[in-house]
C-alpha cells in the first residue's frame, strides 16, 4: 500500500491524501466538531459516457444506462442496500451527472460498518436479472416525475440547443423507451469498464483518523479484487462545432408560468490542466456574477419590469469536453426577456467590466467559499467532483486572487455574445 499523506490546509481542518491499491485517489478531510461523519465514492462514468471502446470493442449504450447502474449498485442479496444503511441509522444516497456517478453516506454512529458496505457495493456488483426488471418500473416512475418538471425540461432542452452532437444532449435518466433496452449484461459490462479504483475518487470527512480510513479502504479494495489491472478504455466523442446547434428551442407543457434559459457555449477546457481549470471557472463565474448577479442594473431593470423573478440564477457547467454558461428562471415572456438580456449585455460590452465590479465580486466569492466548509456532505461531494474534473478546490482562495481584470473582461467579451447563445423556453401548452 502506497500511503503518501499530503497535507492541504482548508479553513476547517486539513485534507490528507493517499494513493491506494488499484490507483484509487483517496482523501480524508479532518473536519472536527460535527456530529456527522461521511464518506463518498465517485466514479468517472456519467450520462455522457454512452459511446466507448473497451479492450478494442466498441460499445454504444442506451440513454439512461449510467443512471440505471446507479440504482442497481444498491442491490444486494439481502434487499436494497439503502435499507441496510438505514437500519444502521445511516443515511445513504447516490447521484449522477453527465460525467460522474457518486455514492455517499452520512452517519453519526456505525461509520465503519457503513464504510465497508459502501466499498463493497461499488466495487462488487450483485446485480440480478430479476432485480433489473423490478428496477425498470421504479425508474419509469422517476422519469415520469421529471417529465412533469418544467425546470428540468428547460435545462435539458438548452443542452440540445447548444450542442449538435456532444452526448451532454442525452437524457440523464433516459426515456421509458430507452431504459427498456437496458439489460443485465450491459450493466455488468459498464461496471467492468468504469467502476475501477483508478477511475474513482474517495473522500471521508469528519472527526476521523486518516491512517485508519486509508487502511480500511485499501484492505476493502484488495479484498474485492478490484485492484486488478484496469481495462483499456477510450471514450469516443463526436466532433462538436464551436457554435450552438440552434438559437432557440421550445417545449410546450401544461404549466401556468413559462421558463427560460439563456446559454452561452464556451470552448471546452480540454487543453487546460489543474489550477488553470479552476482559474477559467473563476473568471467565467466572476464575469457572470457582475452581469447576472443581484448588483446588476440590467437584472434590476428586468426584475422591475416583471420579466425576471426572484429565482433568476446563473451557472457555469463544465467538464473536460464541454462548457457553457447559462442563466434563467421563470418569466412572463421568455423571448422578450432573452432578447432584452442579450441587448443589455451588448450595451454593457461597450464599457466592459470595471475594477470596482470585479473586486466586489472577488470579495463576495471569497466569503461564500468559507461557508462551504460548514456542510460536511456538501463540501465532500463538491471536493470529489472537482478532483474528477482534474482540479481541486482547496486552493480556490489563491486562484481567485490571481484572476486578473483583463482575464475577466476578455471572458465576458468573448463568451457572452449572440453568436454563442441559445435560448431554451418552456411555454404553457394551449
Amino acid at each position: 500500500m502506497a500511503l503518501v499523506p499530503e497535507g492541504l490546509a482548508g479553513p476547517q481542518g486539513e485534507f490528507v491524501a493517499a494513493r491506494l491499491p488499484g490507483g484509487l485517489d483517496a482523501w480524508v478531510w479532518r473536519r472536527r466538531g460535527l456530529q456527522n461523519r461521511c464518506a463518498a465514492l465517485a466514479v468517472r462514468f456519467g450520462a455522457m459516457d454512452a459511446l466507448f471502446e473497451v479492450d478494442g470493442r466498441e460499445l454504444e449504450v442506451p440513454d439512461g444506462t449510467a443512471h440505471f447502474l446507479e440504482h442497481k449498485v444498491f442491490e444486494t442479496e439481502k434487499g436494497s442496500a439503502l435499507a441496510l444503511f438505514s437500519r444502521m441509522g445511516v443515511r445513504a444516497n447516490a447521484f449522477i451527472s453527465y460525467a460522474v456517478t457518486a455514492y455517499h453516506f452520512t452517519a453519526t454512529e456505525n461509520f465503519w460498518p457503513a464504510l465497508r458496505l459502501l466499498l463493497g457495493l461499488v466495487f462488487t456488483p450483485r446485480l440480478t436479472a430479476e432485480g433489473v426488471e423490478a428496477e425498470r418500473r421504479v425508474i419509469a416512475q422517476e422519469i415520469r416525475m421529471y417529465e412533469d418538471d418544467p425546470a428540468a425540461k428547460v435545462i435539458e432542452n438548452l443542452h440540445r440547443a447548444l450542442y449538435a452532437r456532444h452526448p451532454v444532449r442525452r437524457r440523464i435518466a433516459g426515456t421509458v423507451e430507452s431504459i427498456s433496452r437496458i439489460t443485465l449484461e450491459l450493466l455488468l459490462d459498464c461496471h467492468r469498464t468504469f467502476y475501477h479504483p483508478s477511475n474513482a475518487v474517495f473522500v471521508a470527512a469528519g472527526d476521523l483518523d486518516p491512517d485508519r480510513v486509508f487502511a480500511e479502504v485499501a484492505a476493502l479494495v484488495e479484498d474485492s479484487g478490484a485492484a486488478a489491472p484496469p481495462p483499456a478504455v477510450r471514450r469516443l466523442l463526436p466532433p462538436e462545432p464551436s457554435s450552438p446547434a440552434a438559437s432557440r428551442v421550445e417545449a410546450r407543457m401544461p404549466v401556468k408560468r413559462p421558463w427560460f434559459q439563456l446559454g452561452f457555449k464556451d470552448r471546452p477546457p480540454d487543453d487546460l490542466r489543474g489550477e488553470a481549470l479552476l482559474r477559467r471557472e473563476a473568471a467565467v463565474s466572476l464575469a457572470a456574477e457582475v452581469v447576472f448577479g443581484l448588483t446588476s442594473p440590467l437584472r434590476d431593470r428586468l426584475y422591475r419590469e416583471g420579466l425576471l423573478d426572484e429565482g433568476f440564477s446563473h451557472r457555469y457547467a463544465w467538464d473536460r469536453s464541454f462548457a457553457h454558461l447559462s442563466a434563467g428562471g421563470t418569466t412572463e415572456d421568455p423571448d422578450r426577456v432573452s432578447e432584452l438580456l442579450l441587448e443589455g449585455i451588448s450595451e454593457w460590452r461597450q464599457k466592459g467590466i470595471s475594477r470596482r465590479e470585479l473586486e466586489s465580486k472577488r470579495r463576495k466569492t471569497l466569503g461564500e467559499y468559507t461557508g462551504l466548509f460548514d456542510s460536511l456532505e456538501g463540501m465532500s461531494t463538491l471536493f470529489l467532483l472537482y478532483r474528477l474534473k482534474g482540479t481541486g478546490l482547496v486552493s480556490y482562495p489563491e486562484v481567485l486572487g490571481r484572476v486578473s481584470l483583463e482575464e475577466v473582461d476578455e471572458t465576458f467579451r468573448g463568451l457572452m455574445v449572440p453568436e454563442r447563445a441559445s435560448v431554451s423556453v418552456v411555454v404553457p401548452a394551449l
Binding site: A9, P11, Q12, G33, L34, Q35, G79, S80, L82, A83, L84, S86, R87, M88, G89, V90, R91, E109, N110, A134, R137, V138, Q141, E142, R144, M145, D148, P150, M253, P254, V255, K256, R257, L294, T295, D300, Y303, G306, D309, E310, T330, R355, R356, E359, R362, R363, K364, T365, L366, G367, T370, G371, F373, D374, P397, L400, G401, R402, P428, A429
Partner: protein, 489 residues
Amino acid sequence: MQPVARREFAPGADLYILPAPRFGALHLLVAFRQVLDPERVTRGALLPRVLRRGTRTWPDLPSLARHLDGLYGASVGAAAAKMGDHQTVELTYSCPGPGVLKEVLARRAATAPSAGRGAPDGPSPEGLLVHGAELLAEMFSRPAGPGGRGGSPEAPPGGEEGLDEDYVREEKAGLGRDLRALADDRTSWAHHRCVEEMCSGEPYALHSLGRLPDLEDITGESLDAFRRELLARSPLSAYVVGPVDDRTVDRVSEALLPLAAGRRADDGAGSASLPASACHPLPSREPSREREVHEEADVEQARLVVGLATGTTLTDPAHPAQVLYNGLLGGFVHGRLFRRMREEAGLAYYVWSRVVALKGLIIISCGIREEDYGRALDIIRREVDSLARGRFSDREFGATRNSALAVARARLDSPSALVYGHLEHLAAGQVPDGIAPWRELEGVTAADVRDFARRPVIDTVYLLARGRRRRRPPGGGGSRAGGPCRAAG
C-alpha cells in the same frame, strides 16, 4: 446539547443565542409571529418581499447587494412561513465567521500579494455580524420610502413616511405570479391541496403565500400599517447561531433595538405570546369521516397524498413515540412504505411520510401511475392497519430507533434545523433552554409505539391525476371525487 440563552430586549421581543464555535459561518434570523388568519396571511407573505427591496440607507436591490458583497458575500433572505397555526414573517442574514475569514484572507495575502489591488479596505471580520443585525433592523424599521426611495434622512425610526409604492406594486405582481403558478410544482401542490381539504376551516388550510384574491386590495398604506402593527405587537424572536462571543452578542442585541422601539409594556405587547397552535381534531372512526378528493390535471405522473390525523402534537408526551411510528411507516427507506411500494411492488420512485408536529398530522406522499392508484392506496391502508395492530418486529423497531436518533443528533450540525426546531417549540407554547431532541427518543419503548399506533386515522385521501381511468373510491363515506380542474394547465 446545544445551549440556548435568552435575552429579552423589549416586552415580547427576545434574542436567543446559540453559541456554536463548531460552525465557520454566522447566522441571524429575525421572525415576527402572527396567527395564521385569512385577513392577514397575504400581507404577511407580501411584506418580506417588499422589505427585501431596500432600506433608507440602501434604497434599491443593486445598492443593497453591493453592500452585502462588501460584507464578504453576506446574504439576506426574506420569507413568510407556516408554522402550525402561526405564520412567521422573517428576515435572515448569514456571513462568514471571523475565524475562517481571517484564515483565508491571510492565506491569500501570503500567496497572492497582488490580489485585491484597487479594492477598498474590507470591513473587519469581527464586525460582519453586527452589520447584519443593523441591516435587518433597518429593513424592518426603516424600509425604502416613497419619493426618491431613500426618503428623508431624518425620517424617524418608525418609518413614518411609509413604503415605496412602486416596490409594493412590483412585489404584488411578483407574488401574484407565484400564487398563480403554485400548481406547476405538482408534488408540492398535491401536498398543499390535501392539507387544504383536510384542515378546511382551520387556519392551517391557508397557504404560506396567502390568497390571490386578497392581493389586489393591498395598498402601500395598508401594508405599512401592517408592518407597524407587527413591530408594535407581534411576538418577535431573533436568533444568532455560530461562533459568537459575549461582546458580539451585546452589540447584536443593541443593533436589533430599533425593532422593538415602538413597544410599550402597557399596550399589549408585553403579553404578546400567541395562543399555541391547535391540534387537528381526530375524525371519528365510526362512521368514518374519511374523504377522498380527486382532481384532474395533465400530469405524466399521478400524485397521491394521504393525510392521517394523530391527535398528537409536539407537547404531547406521546410525541416521541409518534416520531418512531412515522419512521416505521414511511420516515426512512427501511420503513414499510418504501419497502412495500418501491422495493416490492415497484409502484413508486418516491414515497415518504412526514410528521406535522404542531398539528398532529402525518402526511404520506408518493408519485405513481394512475392505474396503480387502487394498489397503492391498499398498501398504505394495509400498513397503517398493520402498525395499528402492533405488528412490527424488534428488528424494525431497533433500526427505526437508530435512524431517528441519528437524525436527531445530526440537527446539531445544521444551524437552520436548530433555529426552526426551536421556533417550532415557541409555536407550541414552550421555551426550551437547550436543544437535544435525541434525549426524548432514547426512552421510547416498542410498547410506547404500539400504544401510539392505535391513534392515527386516515382523514383525507387526495389524488391528482389525468382522470381518464377514475376508479370508484373504495370504502369510506363522504367521498368527494371529482371537483374542479384546478391544477390543469
